[in-house]
């Protein structure tokens, strides 16, 4: 007799071969310039429940370019495992043909050329069209938002998230969980959440004073869909007060809280849940570990680390879905739930090719309405670029190099530090850089650019500390950001070493001299998590720098030597 795991493996094989997804099958279509909306949306409705997952939109209402990472290193048990597979290896793993639309959507190679052929991605009006088409096939499909929605743009900053709330409400989500939302400040978060027409979930959002579940956020919500009792449990980003400024939301504590998750799963099962869905902002490797420790979760909708995977990953009897970022993808998961158990699935990661998918006109109008008061200011052209500007990857992207250059020249510093966040769309060579583009790469509520002095020893210590948040072999000790981007210095890193031994050969790029542990250096940076940081806003620093450059040119960065990958 087939076990449940066998059923799930059959589903997995079917997904991969037939491409319920259609991934891998488009190369020929594209060659004929025939990629259509129908092909992108094609899906043989399956089972009795449909889930729609969007996550990490980072306030990108409009179509953008977004280059996937070239370097994404897995450590410990995750070495070489997805999502730590990029480029040609990724295409080989999933049978994606070079230069195909899938190659453009999922890998970094030839990004500029492919971007010119296939165009921009995302746009919440296109996302709406996809959601509507899924709802046409399955009217009671659940739409679940993994968070990092109310952060990341000029309009989002100036409306304190209201633009995103208004547009997302039009898409009618059923539940949401959180991360960057909290950097709006806890008062603003409570104000929005109080009026949300859907569930605000976080089983791990605790009252910091009493160390018990916070009353403002429910741990889970029950839905009845297709005759199935579904429990959707929320898991907010566990390390919010560490990775982001805790002083902005001092009432709350987070954490991974594996035992709590098991209790909540047991509780919903006790109440008759036939399908348990975890809407998570843990990050992919943390979700894998949690799925291996907590028994009874059927589906994890994973967010935070911005990975886009064309197939689910199976951990025990749990499937994990990763749906990308910045509005670039929507995942559809159809499930067959019988006799109180999930017995099979069909999944498709739908890339939102903006030129192929027809926008939902009502949502387009709503987006324009949010942007109208700011359109003149944010569309101002500040300069242009003859290099591709991108950020995603474990180490410096060209956007980061540009920001570090701006920090060093505008703030007269020898060394710059820029946070390894994973958001921020790409800009094509030859394109103008508008104020909006700069804000897309820098917008945050704690963006002041400080200037200070640090010893070489302390700079090294910071680099080791951040590297351990990324390369600790136990995913539970990872925070889900990339390595801090350093300007003005180069270094070598062995990702397999323990904290304190990973970073060596730190040199000042200008002089070639070794970083002197005893010497004091001037350092400029931004996104400090401490209250009272002083300095101009980072977007003003970057704008001034780009204006002076006129046309930005970024040389390939060879200052970081990586070993152990």
């Amino acid at each position: 007799m087939l076990s449940r795991r066998d059923f799930l493996q059959v589903s997995m094989a079917a997904s991969a071969m037939v491409g319920a997804s259609g991934f891998g099958n488009w190369a020929r279509l594209a060659a004929q310039q025939a990629l259509t909306q129908d092909q992108l949306l094609e899906f043989d409705t399956f089972g009795n429940v449909s889930l729609i997952h969007v996550t990490d939109i980072h306030a990108q209402l409009k179509p953008i370019y977004f280059r996937e990472p070239e370097i994404n290193i897995g450590v410990g048990g995750n070495k070489g495992a997805v999502p730590h597979v990029t480029g040609a290896d990724f295409r080989k793993l999933y049978g994606v043909e070079d230069n195909s639309p899938s190659a453009y959507a999922l890998t970094y190679n030839d990004f500029t050329a492919l971007g010119k052929a296939y165009g921009k991605v995302g746009g919440l009006d296109r996302v709406s069209t996809v959601i509507n088409s899924i709802r046409a096939a399955r009217p009671d499909a659940l739409l679940l938002d993994g968070g990092d929605t109310w952060h990341g743009s000029y309009t989002c900053y100036h409306t304190e998230g209201q633009d995103m709330v208004n547009v997302m409400n039009a898409l009618k989500p059923d539940a949401m969980t959180f991360h960057w939302e909290f950097t709006l400040g806890s008062e603003r978060v409570r104000e929005i959440v109080g009026d949300l027409p859907f569930a605000a979930l976080g089983a791990n959002i605790y009252d910091a004073e009493w160390d018990e579940p916070a009353e403002d956020f429910a741990p889970y919500k029950f839905f009845e869909r297709g005759g199935v009792k579904i429990a959707v449990i929320g898991q907010a980003f566990p390390y919010m007060p560490i990775a982001n400024p805790g002083w902005m939301f001092p009432e709350y504590s987070f954490g991974i809280r594996t035992e709590r998750m098991q209790e909540v799963v047991d509780e919903v099962k006790g109440q008759g849940a036939e399908l348990v869905v975890l809407l998570s902002h843990n990050g992919f490797d943390v979700d894998k570990k949690m799925a291996s420790l907590v028994k009874g979760i059927d589906v994890v909708l994973s967010g935070h680390t911005h990975d886009a995977l064309p197939e689910p990953v199976l951990v025990g009897e749990t499937i994990i879905i990763a749906s990308g970022s910045n509005g670039k993808f929507v995942s559809r998961v159809d499930l067959d739930v019988r006799d109180g158990r999930m017995m099979g699935f069909r999944h498709k990661l739908i890339p939102i090719f903006s030129d192929v998918i027809e926008p939902d006109k009502a949502v387009s109008a709503l987006i324009d309405e949010q942007r109208a008061p700011y359109e003149d200011t944010m569309s101002e052209v500040i300069g242009e670029t003859d290099s591709l500007l991108y950020r995603r990857g474990n180490f410096n992207g060209t956007w980061d190099d540009l920001i570090c250059d701006a920090l060093m020249s505008e703030r007269d510093a020898e060394i710059a530090m820029s946070p390894g966040v994973r958001w921020g769309p790409s800009i094509m060579p030859g394109d103008k850089i508008t104020r909006e583009d700069i804000w897309n790469a820098t917008s945050m509520t704690y963006g002041k650019a400080y200037r200070t002095e640090m010893t070489g020893e302390y700079i090294h210590t910071i680099m080791e500390d951040v590297a351990d948040n990324l390369f600790n072999p136990d995913p539970y000790y990872q925070q889900g950001g990339d390595m801090v981007r350093m300007g003005g210095l180069g270094y070598a890193i062995d990702v397999t070493k323990p904290q304190g031994e990973r970073i060596t050969d730190i040199v000042m790029l200008k002089t070639g001299e070794k970083l002197d542990p005893a010497k004091t250096y001037s350092v400029a940076g931004w996104a400090s998590v401490n209250e009272g940081t002083e300095g101009p806003q980072i977007w003003d620093v970057v704008e001034d720098h780009i204006r002076k450059q006129g046309t930005v040119h970024i040389e390939p960065n060879t200052s970081v030597k990586v070993t152990g990958a």
């Binding site: 160390d211 560490i242 946070p419 640090m454 302390y458 948040n469 136990d474 950001g481 990339d482 996104a527």
Partner: protein, 138 residues
Amino acid sequence: MNLTRRDAMALGLGATAVALLPLRASAAADDAIAAFTGGAEAGEGGITLTAPEIAENGNTVPISVDAPGAVAIAVYATGNPTPGIAVFNFGPLAGSQMASTRVRLAGTQDVVAIAKMADGSFVKTSSTVKVTIGGCGG
């Protein structure tokens, strides 16, 4: 480390008072544990220590211990200058053998919990709690 308070403020590196490399268990910790167990070997299982993987604030880290059937549970911060945190004693009328408190950790280190059972045997568990500078979360 040559770092002023102003530097720390400007940077948002709130961890100046904290050792930033993992702290090894000190001889003082071994001694304290030996004093509690009388040198007896501690087994595994039957004791749960709940602690965050990464502390939100190293100055006040919530932990809890649970060891059904224990007569006492001792907790140690093995990297702290004074490793002993607490010894919880449970009388025969105790409804459960669990306790929670908050501890201050000098840096990344292992927190160890040891329970003395009614038959005089010991069980032990430990958990690594990381204290980090923070920032840079994706």
